[in-house]
């Protein structure tokens, strides 16, 4: 799902929510599913995803006054909170960080790395070598098909930086792949 630029209507909703947390309801309605799905792909099960999503929106409501409209999608701000909350969850609960792989989309990533159609299992061996922020970029770019612009907004970096980081990660995976040969 692409980030949604803030419409005038949404900007008005955000402003209302900043004055009164009860006015956050429409934003909750709009973004509950995208946030839940974003989290679900990274955690073990639906129940965990649901609990974390609630926590994310609690944080969003508590910090809505810190949000400023700088041309970034509101969803990107929510996803940023989501990444922080998930990181804390993984640290505190020691539960596994899940990487949900769509076979079709993953095949493209594999061919990007080694120019062949390879068993997807090689991908696991490669991805375990990535840091969390690198893994996020791979997931968002290849498995969720987000634009560099949106990736940049979510990770609070520029679009160009998101592009550069993505290609560096691919290079890193290529290097690791060669070491297996």
């Amino acid at each position: 799902m692409d980030g949604i630029n803030i419409s005038a209507n949404e900007a008005a909703l955000i402003k209302k929510a900043q004055g009164n947390p009860e006015e956050f309801a429409p934003l909750y309605e709009t973004y509950h599913k995208p946030v839940l799905m974003f989290v679900f792909k990274r955690v073990e099960d639906f129940e965990t995803a649901s609990d974390l999503t609630s926590q994310i929106f609690i944080k969003a409501i508590q910090n809505i006054n810190k949000y400023e409209n700088r041309g970034f999608a509101f969803s990107s701000w929510l996803f940023r909170i989501a990444i922080n909350e998930m990181n804390m969850h993984f640290r505190s609960s020691k539960s596994a960080r899940v990487v949900s792989i769509d076979s079709l989309k993953a095949a493209e990533l594999v061919s990007e790395i080694n120019n062949t159609k390879e068993d997807l299992k090689i991908l696991e061996k490669l991805l375990v070598n990535l840091k969390e922020n690198e893994l996020q970029i791979i997931e968002m770019r290849f498995f969720e098909e987000r634009s560099f612009k949106e990736i940049g907004e979510i990770l609070a970096i520029t679009e160009n930086n998101a592009k550069v980081k993505t290609y560096r990660i691919i290079d890193k995976l290529k290097t690791i792949y060669k070491s297996f040969l």
Partner: protein, 516 residues
């Protein structure tokens, strides 16, 4: 490398599943309720009563929020007094606070706002906060934001330290540190140290807390061993000369005088075979030997001579002797030497004795200082106990580089387990409106303030009490038993509060309420 699990082509949750996970009301409720503070302390009751007395006045004299800074004193007239100490900065200073805390200030520790070293007299101000009452009155924020999460501080104690000279603030020299040994009632080892940035209102993490218990085992004194064995070098006792006897064989042997200085004093010295020696035969005297060696014998005044030639060698005890003609002169020399030896020995023994006495005096002084230290610490403990009604305490040590507010804290989350929507009535069943409501966890000595008196969350397993302040500034209480009788299943609860009859004026009035 993190723990990663790969899942392929997962089935996405259905729309109905997603819909069932939505609950904005619950999210909103938690978002509003997670907005209090907690403090872990001992001896809670009297102290929280003080806090509440302070709070009453707060709601009468509440400052304008828009002009508030990071630390504001909410209660004019209730601000905690600071201890004041005037010190001469040219020397080390050690200050003691009524709780027993000690502040160590090195010499020349301060500079002015221009970075110039301060001389002369400086006035140091110091105060501590150990319980909910003091912390509430102080206005010091007790929340800590990190990684997008707001935590509440459980405090093992805070202090506020500053200094002035001629009404101008002074600053700690960048190459110096002031050591604060803060007496604390909490013996937990899970606390960290923080410094309050009064501009942003944020706490800055300063490091892991360290503490020591007040009553320590007496440290072993590194007592020096008896120096008599080490200090006094071997005093060469002169050998009493003996007259050569014709019945025994004797030898003239060239020896290393540096090795046997005691033998150099006698002219014409020879080595005579000892009368008890059985290993010597007359043939040895007739043999031309290749080598002769001397060694000090096992008995005083005896020497072991070893004669050798090729593979053959013989050793036998000898005594140093002089010929009769040289004997008188040797005796005179001996007496002179012996007298010198006695003087030397006497001087060394005297020195040894003096050293021993010094050591004993040092040991005695050390033991006295230890006892005195222990006495002072026990007094501090007693003083601290009298103020804070506790029997055990520790010192938490801070090495501070700047004046301000320092804290020994552990971030924690609010209690949870049950949420209710509360409305309040008095004992007559009449509806009452709350200005503020506080949750007390008696078993943990913790105090939480809720932003919205209507929306409460708490841990139903804890020993809870609610303390409220009505819109008429009266104190009211929802006691422990009443809490236990709340039905878990009911989200909406009507809480029957015990309201004070008179406007609470004293701490003891509030304590009585809490005890009921």
């Amino acid at each position: 490398m993190q723990n990663i699990e790969f899942k392929y082509d997962r089935k996405e949750p259905s729309d109905s599943q997603i819909e069932s996970a939505k609950n904005f009301d619950a999210v909103l409720s938690k978002a509003v309720q997670q907005n209090g503070f907690s403090i872990g302390t001992k001896s809670f009751l009297a102290i929280s009563a003080i806090a509440l007395v302070a709070l009453f006045t707060w709601f009468i004299f509440s400052p304008d929020e828009e002009s508030s800074k990071a630390v504001i004193t909410p209660l004019p007239g209730f601000d905690l007094e600071k201890e004041s100490y005037k010190i001469n900065v040219g020397q080390e200073n050690k200050l003691t606070y009524p709780t027993g805390s000690v502040i160590h200030i090195p010499a020349n520790a301060f500079i002015d706002k221009n970075g110039n070293l301060i001389k002369g007299e400086v006035e140091i101000f110091y105060r501590e906060f150990h319980n909910p009452a003091e912390i509430l009155v102080s206005g010091i924020p007790m929340t800590y934001d990190t990684l997008g999460t707001q935590y509440h501080f459980e405090s093992a104690g805070m202090f506020d330290i500053s200094g002035i000279q001629n009404k101008e603030p002074v600053f700690i020299h960048p190459e110096k540190r002031i050591t604060v040994e803060m007496a604390s009632r909490n013996e937990g080892d899970y606390f960290n140290q923080y410094f309050l940035d009064t501009v942003t209102g944020n706490w800055n993490y300063s490091g892991k807390d360290n503490f020591k218990k007040i009553v320590e085992d007496k440290a072993a004194v590194p007592v020096e061993t008896n120096p008599s064995e080490t200090l006094i070098s071997k005093v060469e006792k002169p050998i009493k000369p003996q007259k050569e006897q014709s019945d025994f064989h004797s030898f003239e042997i060239v020896f290393n005088e540096e090795e046997f200085p005691e033998l150099t004093v006698y002219r014409g010295l020879k080595f005579q075979v000892d009368k008890n020696e059985r290993n010597f035969t007359a043939d040895f005297a007739r043999t031309i030997w290749e080598n002769a060696a001397i060694a000090r014998g096992t008995k005083e005044g005896k020497y072991l001579i070893t004669l050798s030639k090729g593979e053959e060698s013989h050793s036998f005890n000898c005594v140093p002797v002089v010929a009769e003609k040289d004997y008188q002169a040797a005796v005179v020399e001996y007496e002179k030497l012996f007298s010198q030896y006695k003087d030397k020995e006497s001087r060394k023994l005297k020195k040894q004795d003096e050293k021993q006495k010094l050591l004993e005096a040092k040991q005695e002084k050390f033991e006295k200082e230890q006892l005195e230290r222990q006495r002072r610490e026990n007094e501090a403990l007693k003083r601290f106990s009298e103020i804070y009604e506790t029997e055990r305490t520790v010192f938490r040590t801070f090495e501070i580089s700047q004046f301000g507010i320092w804290n020994s804290d552990a971030p924690s989350l609010l209690p949870s387990g049950q949420s209710i929507l509360a409305s309040y009535i008095n004992e007559n069943g009449e509806s009452i409106k709350m200005n503020r409501i506080f949750l007390v966890e008696k078993n943990k000595n913790a105090l939480f303030a809720y932003a919205d008196p209507a929306k409460l969350q708490f841990n139903p397993e804890s020993d809870n009490i609610l303390i409220g302040i009505t819109e008429n500034n009266k104190v009211c209480v929802f006691d422990q038993n009443s809490f236990k009788n709340l039905k878990r299943a009911d989200k909406n609860q009507i809480l029957r509060m015990k309201v004070s009859n008179e406007r609470t004026k004293t701490v003891s009035d509030v304590i009585k309420l809490l005890d009921t």
